[in-house]
Amino acid sequence: VIAWLLWFFLSLPLFLLDGWLVQEVWPVPSLTFALCMFLGLYARPSALPGLLLCAALARSVLVGGDAALHVLILGMPVSALVPLRLVFYRRHLLWQCTAASFLAVTVPKATAFLGRFAEAVPDAPPVSWSQILWAACAVPPATWVLRSIPPLSLFRESAE
């Protein structure tokens, strides 16, 4: 319960930090992508709906639109990554970079596509190659940080 409460209240500061990093440090929302990568590759499958719901609620506060919309925006790339655990043997770094690039393309695309159904979501800019490269470099270490510290470390899959 404590882990869930922690994640419920810390998901919003995580996205706040992501917004600050995008404005001040680097041009891609690395923590959003890192969270998706954690959910797709490292999280306990049974905990996925709860983790995703809290993240979607927090993202809806800062980006706009209903939480259901953000469940789909974050959940669709995650649901594509989950079956790939079969081939992501020992979480090789190259695979992580590939997954980060995949997320750097699909999350903005999903935002642009699904955002058409919600007027409150701003128009998503097109993704550039430099942003994909940035994501490939920055997201794996960010994912490592996320899965190493609570509360997300408490939801890590035991078989990892």
Binding site: V22, A58, E157
Partner: protein
């Protein structure tokens, strides 16, 4: 390596995605629960906002914005009564009214009713026609109990030309179009909800001539019809433009239906004119209360892409601020409330979302009338707002951009900023006014639409 289908294909995750899809289709299902979750989730953010935002007195009206709003009012009034002098009977005087709300979607997916900032009692002696310039927009709603007419102190309603008026029947308008060969008279009536245009032509005087119409865009004007059972209308008022819809032909389309595109888009109308017998001495007219302003404290917080900035608003009372309410300082608008709970709200900069806005452009050239626009915010860069007009019109002039009528909580005449047309795209680019943490206000109007 993980084994087992359930781990690789978690049913609960896919079930949740399916449920989210259902919630998007029916958003009202999940909103109450979501509201409570957000209220709890935002507790730390609100505490931070209360601690960080320094309480200040609400600043006085910004002089530039207020002066610009006055100029807009004067030029809007002038444009609203232009070109109609010879079309109406003598001895009438105009009553220029602001639109405060719009009705439900009707024919062609457009709202069919407008509510004005005047009461039923105030407009008791007005004619039933409603105009803007030389365009006929609709009719004052009749005082009929079957239509749910409101009390004397309620805002007056305008039924647009395409309003179905259940229980009473539509107000059909006798009109005419000047073709290359002849003057073709017909009756315009409300079209269907799925039709492309809100008015349909019927009862053509010369059906053969109607079947030979080969192009759209000719102006349609009212005609005097002797013995009109619905009451005589002044002739020559602009109804809209004729639209020919039919099978594509070799030389010209074979018409199946003839429609009329109204002169003004009902979603963009911000002001209308009523007409009443001239009064010898102008008595001060009691007006409906304008939207009230509630003081709030603003704290800017960073947001991940595609949003760039989000504002946490904290109010002194525990009142729930309405969604869509304008965040203002004096007569200038900065943002819009998007989510709210008791005593707090989350707002986004005005024009950053994809919402369709009713806007008023006041051109720099003083001889040009204010332009009513229907525009959507599009992404340009973080330093500028950018609006793309929905209607395909020519290049827009530079000028000051104001809000149009966007519901009771976002009244017309709030300054957005100075707009300059972008040469390549024709979009209007606006440099927004700077926003600092501190005291702002949120507009709260009276909900009138059912």
């Amino acid at each position: 390596m993980i084994r087992g289908g359930r781990r690789l294909f978690p049913v609960s995750l896919y079930a949740m995605l399916l449920a989210a899809l259902c919630c998007i289709a029916a958003p009202d299902l999940a909103r109450p629960v979501q509201g409570w979750c957000l209220w709890v989730l935002c507790l730390p953010l609100r505490t931070w906002a209360v601690l960080m935002a320094e309480p200040k007195a609400t600043p006085a009206l910004d002089r530039t914005a207020a002066a610009s709003a006055d100029v807009l009012q004067r030029r809007l009034h002038r444009a609203a009564v232009a070109d109609i002098a010879g079309l109406l009977p003598p001895g009438l005087e105009p009553v220029v009214c602001a639109v405060v709300d719009r009705g439900e979607i009707d024919a062609a997916g457009l709202p069919s009713a407008l509510w004005l900032d005047r009461t039923v009692a105030e407009t008791a002696d007005c004619l039933d026609i409603v105009t803007y310039g030389d365009a006929l927009l609709g009719f004052l709603a009749p005082a009929d109990a079957a239509l749910g007419a409101a009390g004397q102190g309620a805002p007056v309603r305008v039924d647009l030309l395409h309003a179905a008026r259940p229980g009473r029947g539509p107000r059909r308008v006798p009109c005419a179009v000047q073709t290359s060969a002849t003057l073709l008279r017909f009756v315009a009536e409300p079209a269907g909800r799925i039709d492309r245009w809100p008015l349909r032509g019927t009862l053509f005087e010369q059906p053969y001539a109607a079947s030979r119409l080969d192009h759209s865009g000719d102006p349609v004007r009212t005609t005097a019809l002797a013995g009109d059972p619905l009451g005589a209308l002044p002739a020559g008022l602009r109804v809209g433009t004729l639209q020919v819809w039919g099978y594509p032909g070799r030389e010209h389309p074979l018409p199946i239906g003839l429609y009329v595109q109204p002169a003004l888009d009902p979603r963009a109308i911000s002001a209308v004119v009523l007409w009443r017998p001239r009064r010898p001495v102008e008595a001060p007219a009691p007006r409906l209360a304008a939207a009230e302003q509630r003081s709030v404290q603003l704290l800017a917080v960073p947001a991940p892409p595609p949003a760039t900035e989000r504002w946490v608003l904290t109010a002194s009372s525990r009142e729930v601020l309405p969604r869509g309410a304008a965040l203002v300082r004096g007569a200038a608008v900065f943002g819009v409330v998007e989510q709210s709970g008791p005593g707090f709200a989350l707002a986004a900069p005005f024009g950053r979302s994809r919402q369709l806005w009713s806007l008023l452009l006041l051109p720099d050239a003083p001889e040009l009338p204010p332009i009513e626009l229907l525009a959507r915010g599009v992404r340009r860069d973080s330093a500028h707002l950018c609006f793309r007009s929905e209607a395909a019109r020519g290049p827009l002039p530079a000028g000051l951009l104001f809000t149009g009528a966007n519901g009771p909580h976002c009244p017309p005449g709030l300054l957005i900023g100075r707009a300059v047309p972008d040469g390549a795209s024709g979009d209007l680019v606006v440099a927004p006014m700077p926003v600092y943490d501190g005291a702002f206000a949120v507009c709260i109007g009276r909900e009138v639409a059912p």
